[in-house]
């Protein structure tokens, strides 16, 4: 089964053609990051405007890349949420129009389900598994017993981890997006600044607003005292705490659910600190760890095409009235 997938939930216009949920026949990702850099973050209205300008260009490119016609496609999968509503709508309307023109099934895919299934493009998922989804908009721990069954066991109560990285980067005067830069700086620094371990409790939830405020206050106080901040050291101290809590709660979930498979997904899965910490712990505890390549970590339509295949196997299809949702829970009825 061949699926044409569309993803436009934030600032990437992406389309992909995926065979049987595992094989990427062609993916196009048009990132708007250079536009949003000027503003220090994603501007929703500018993102929506860019999506509509490029939507058919991306469609033409992906068909060329896969050397296919839309007639050869069996179904259309699309991210219906969560995300920026104006951005989601462009991809959604394109998907609905294609479904209407060619009379193909329309498969609604939850963005987080997509991130999880990005791993399926590398290696077939093995169940049961725990998925740690970490990105600019999401921080979630999900338990999966089988294909396309999701049980969210924890999530952030406030900022997403990637969002927190971007905000800390702003304090340190690092241009947007800050995550990758902090990761690099952290490697050069030492863990010398005392920061709290965020939401260190027995739940699977996360909270990153506290550590963000702690960094802001620390920076402010040091500047007041006339001290200069050692940026590399602060980056290292911050990253260590974030990595520690993510690792701690993820390993706890694996143990309590008696699960031997861990997958990490989302843009922050590219973070070297998180990767190496989880690798170490997984080795120690005999856990199979899968992390997708960078290309599939950040937002892309390939992951939507992979997830869409398993959604379709479960009978998840939508009629032409499908609407976008800015907020929606994984596994809820659409």
């Amino acid at each position: 089964m061949t699926i044409l997938a569309i993803e436009s939930s934030c600032d990437e216009t992406s389309m992909s053609i995926i065979k049987d949920g595992t094989t990427d026949l062609g993916t196009v990702i048009l990132s708007q990051i250079d536009i949003h850099k000027l503003y220090g973050g994603v501007v929703p209205e500018i993102a929506s405007r860019s999506h509509v300008e490029s939507i058919t260009i991306v469609l033409e490119e992906v068909l060329n890349k896969a050397n296919m016609k839309i007639e050869d496609i069996d179904a259309i999968a699309v991210t219906y949420g969560p995300g920026l509503i104006g951005s989601l709508l462009v991809g959604l309307l394109a998907a609905k129009t294609l479904s209407y023109i060619y009379n193909k099934p329309l498969i609604p895919v939850h963005h987080i389900a997509g991130h999880i299934y990005a791993n399926n493009l590398v290696k077939r998922l093995e169940f049961p598994l725990i998925a740690l989804v970490v990105s600019g908009g999401h921080t979630e721990l999900v338990y999966m017993e089988s294909d396309y069954s999701f049980k969210k066991i924890g999530g952030t109560l406030d900022d997403a981890v990637g969002e927190c990285y971007d905000k800390v980067a702003r304090v340190l005067d690092i241009p947007y997006p800050g995550g990758p830069s902090i990761d690099k700086m952290a490697k050069l620094g030492k863990d010398t600044y005392k920061l709290p371990l965020p939401l260190n409790d027995s739940s699977y939830d996360f909270s990153f607003s506290g550590i963000k405020s702690a960094v802001i206050n620390l920076n402010h106080n040091e500047l007041q005292k006339g001290n200069t901040i050692r940026k590399e050291d602060l980056a290292c101290s911050f990253q260590n705490k974030v990595v520690e809590i993510l690792t701690k709660k993820t390993m706890k979930a694996l143990k309590e659910y008696n699960v031997k498979n861990l997958i990490v997904a989302g843009g922050v899965a590219a973070n070297s600190g998180i990767r190496s910490s989880l690798e170490q712990e997984c080795n120690k505890n005999n856990i199979n760890l899968t992390v997708p390549p960078i290309l599939y970590c950040t937002d892309n339509a390939a992951m939507i095409g992979a997830a869409g295949y398993y959604a379709y196997q479960k009978g998840i299809v939508s009629d032409i009235n499908l609407n976008a949702k800015a907020n929606c829970e994984l596994g809820e009825n659409i």
Binding site: Y39, V43, S48, T56, L89, L93, T97, L98, N321, N323
Partner: protein
């Protein structure tokens, strides 16, 4: 010749088909606030077989930013996939098709904070004041005009006839005509100046 007309720019969702200069199907929902979920259903009803369409007329603004994108995305996608010519139309000119006793029609759409989108057209839809985003108080009115801000008596055939043989636009180049930059862009410019 069979044409599909799409206007999703305002709360009045309008979908129509025109066959040989006669309206064959006309849908208007004046209090629509759910265009994105409804619109395809209406198009499906209006045009069960999209292959029979010779031309698409799409209103690409001004109006609700999100609304404009809905219609433009649909038109672009159909136009690209099936190679159907697309003609873009102005929402203000559409309003100005309303039949009145005056020489000019002043089409106005609320743009908030004292601003409007305005365009002034004569009876033959010749433009007197080009479509623009302007303070309501700054509009210079011609002599003998009527203000039009409702879709109650628009004349769809009039605007189609006027633009029927316009040069079609490449679907990749069809874009919304917002007439207004985003606030973020305006602020960035202010900062730079």
């Amino acid at each position: 010749m069979k044409y599909l007309f799409i206007d999703t720019c305002s709360n009045s969702l309008i979908i129509s088909t025109i066959i040989n200069n006669k309206i064959d199907y006309f849908f208007i929902d004046k209090n629509n606030n759910d265009t994105s979920s409804k619109v395809m259903k209406v198009i499906e009803e209006a045009v069960p077989d999209i292959m029979g369409i010779d031309k698409i007329f799409v209103v690409n603004g001004p109006g609700s930013f999100t609304g404009i994108r809905v219609g433009v995305t649909i038109a672009k996608t159909i136009g690209f996939c099936l190679n159907i010519p697309i003609i873009e139309l102005s929402e203000l000119e559409l309003l100005a098709t309303t039949n009145t006793d005056t020489k000019y029609n002043v089409a106005l759409i609320d743009a908030r904070r004292g601003y409007v989108y305005a365009g002034i057209y004569d009876k033959d839809l010749n433009c007197y004041l080009e479509d623009q985003h302007i303070l309501l108080n700054d509009i210079k009115y011609p002599i003998d005009y009527t203000i039009i801000n409702s879709y109650d008596n628009i004349d769809l055939l009039k605007i189609i006839k006027k633009h029927e043989f316009d040069e079609p636009i490449n679907p990749h180049n069809l874009n919304p005509n917002y007439l207004k930059r985003t606030e973020a862009e305006e602020k960035l410019d202010d900062k730079r100046n």
